[in-house]
Symmetry: C2
């Protein structure tokens, strides 16, 4: 039986540079009623992801911006609490795109039923969801790592980076992570099994990275840009591959940020390719099969960073952009 | 019967920034005598190509630099004038890498016999040689143009660019060239059949390029960098491909030159890939078959810019770097 109040977090204004809590507004609205062919979902988990920074801006991007005055967009795991859709029943747990709110309607498009017995349902937003698949397709389809090669990824304790490095290890590569702080670096090496992890808070990132990559870098999974990119670039080997899935260090930049030097791309015969996960939608079944199996047999581990209560979403999101999270960032909206 | 004097042009010094005639020295040495297993080639044509600028520098590159005090390196078409090699006879015409000199020894490695009846032998240095194959593999293997897409290439009247645009037309694309001056642009459109050609000497390159590419740019064959790259970049469509085969505008730069913005690579899901022709050596037979047929049936045309006499090579090469040539740059060293 749904409550009568739907708390929502709206996008109130668009940030110039770094976003702040003032860009969001918490409001209470009536819980909507599903029409014919619709379901009402009660949000259990809301996923917070770096790409949301892009949606806050009006600038042209690969997806249209979130609308001002509307709930912020985002992936959710929810429970069907009312259904007028033939394929869904009350009590079903679904992956959807409900946004930053406690209840959301859906016409069923884009929903996927989850089996709570197969894996904790929150993993559908992380290791077995969009972030895990981003790692899987970016590394394997673009990075094409070969045994013995060196793979470097930043945000290595995060939802994407942690999977990149662990798949690299499964494929016989040397995996080198970059993360913020001693605790994260220890986790990346001791729990996730990376060969090395460099703390980007420590001085001399360039030198530590060089030491950690004695045979150079063959795949740089680009998800941060900025100082890490600048440290990686000189170490790339000939024919290195650079899947570009994010540039979190540059999301808040108000001007353009220089990228790789064209002469170096030529000289080293580099491949640099931007992608979003849905460019490889056809690989979803492969991803669920492979990473599902690796999670079950313990070869791929994951860590979640969960805050409780929808009202915590803005603060948690702003922290995510600053690397304050430790693992896949989730908001537990309801139990 | 060979002459007794072998004129050579040596690399005397390495340039800082733009090269000059002072970097070269013309010397006369005795014509060498082939040892067992060697041939002596008399150079008929010497190819001048932008990549040679890279060889003049000591900087790390995909090939080792030319040696100071030695003849500059370069592709040649020559006639065997003395042979102690079982596979070559006097009178054979061969493609080789004889360098900037009138006579060169070879142990046969890397030589390829040419059939003067099949095509003018000079084409083995141009449309049916390294430049033509650079266009072929870069456009087809990396650019992967689809019918109806727009392909842009600079130096469009040159050895590589002219072939890029003509193959783009064969593949059903809109071909837009960029060239220096009215005469070249007219040639590119009227003779080579490009849909448009923009004179980069004229003001407002950006606007003219935008007008010439009403549906944006899907493949940018990068062979110049600099101002053309900056004009192209904002017009690239999502999923555009950028094969990078040269950055002639940057060869003389003494510092790094900024390349594509990483955030744009991500947002547009671009593929940027550096290559040299021999990365695709396995495609040589396909290239000779396809482009050979297109040249024979007139679908691919070519133009040569020939200067007479080895002593003209430095001046012609410096002109090439400034875009003064009109067509594939060759030195006719002997008739």
């Amino acid at each position: 039986m749904p409550a009568s109040v739907n708390r929502q977090i709206l996008l109130k204004s668009r940030p110039e540079g770094a976003p702040s809590r003032d860009n969001f507004a918490l409001v209470e609205t009536p819980v909507p009623t599903p029409g014919e062919g619709e379901v009402l979902m009660r949000t259990l988990f809301l996923s917070l992801d770096p790409y949301m920074r892009g949606r806050m801006s009006a600038a042209k991007s690969y997806a249209k911006p979130a609308e001002l005055g509307q709930p912020m967009v985002g992936g959710t795991v929810g429970e069907i609490v009312a259904s007028r859709h033939p394929q869904y029943r009350e009590g079903d747990i679904v992956l959807g795109y409900g946004g930053w709110q406690e209840y959301a309607l859906s016409n069923g498009r884009g929903l996927r039923k989850l089996d709570p017995a197969a894996a904790p349902v929150s993993t559908a937003l992380g290791v077995l969801g969009m972030p895990g698949m981003t790692a899987y397709v970016g590394l394997l389809e673009i990075g094409q790592p070969r045994p013995g090669e060196t793979v470097v990824v930043a945000a290595a304790s995060g939802a994407v980076g942690s999977v990149v490095g662990q798949i690299a290890k499964i494929k016989g590569c040397r995996a080198v992570g970059i993360a913020g702080g001693t605790a994260k670096c220890r986790f990346v090496v001791e729990e996730l099994g990376f060969d090395a992890c460099i703390d980007h808070h420590a001085p001399d990132l360039d030198r530590h990275l060089e030491i950690a990559c004695p045979k150079g870098i063959d795949v740089y999974f680009e998800n941060v840009g900025g100082a890490v990119q600048r440290a990686v670039w000189p170490l790339l080997n000939d024919f290195a591959r650079v899947p570009v899935c994010g540039v979190i260090a540059q999301y808040n930049a108000t001007g353009p940020s220089p990228g790789p030097d064209t002469a170096t791309i030529l000289r080293k015969r580099l491949l640099v390719r931007g992608f979003i996960v849905w460019d490889f939608a056809a690989k979803e079944a492969d991803f669920l099969r492979d990473v599902g199996a690796w999670v079950r047999d313990g070869r791929v581990k994951y860590r979640e960073d969960i805050v409780d209560g929808l009202e915590k979403a803005p603060e948690a999101f702003l922290g995510l952009l600053q690397g304050k999270n430790f693992g896949k960032m989730l908001v537990r909206v309801a139990r």
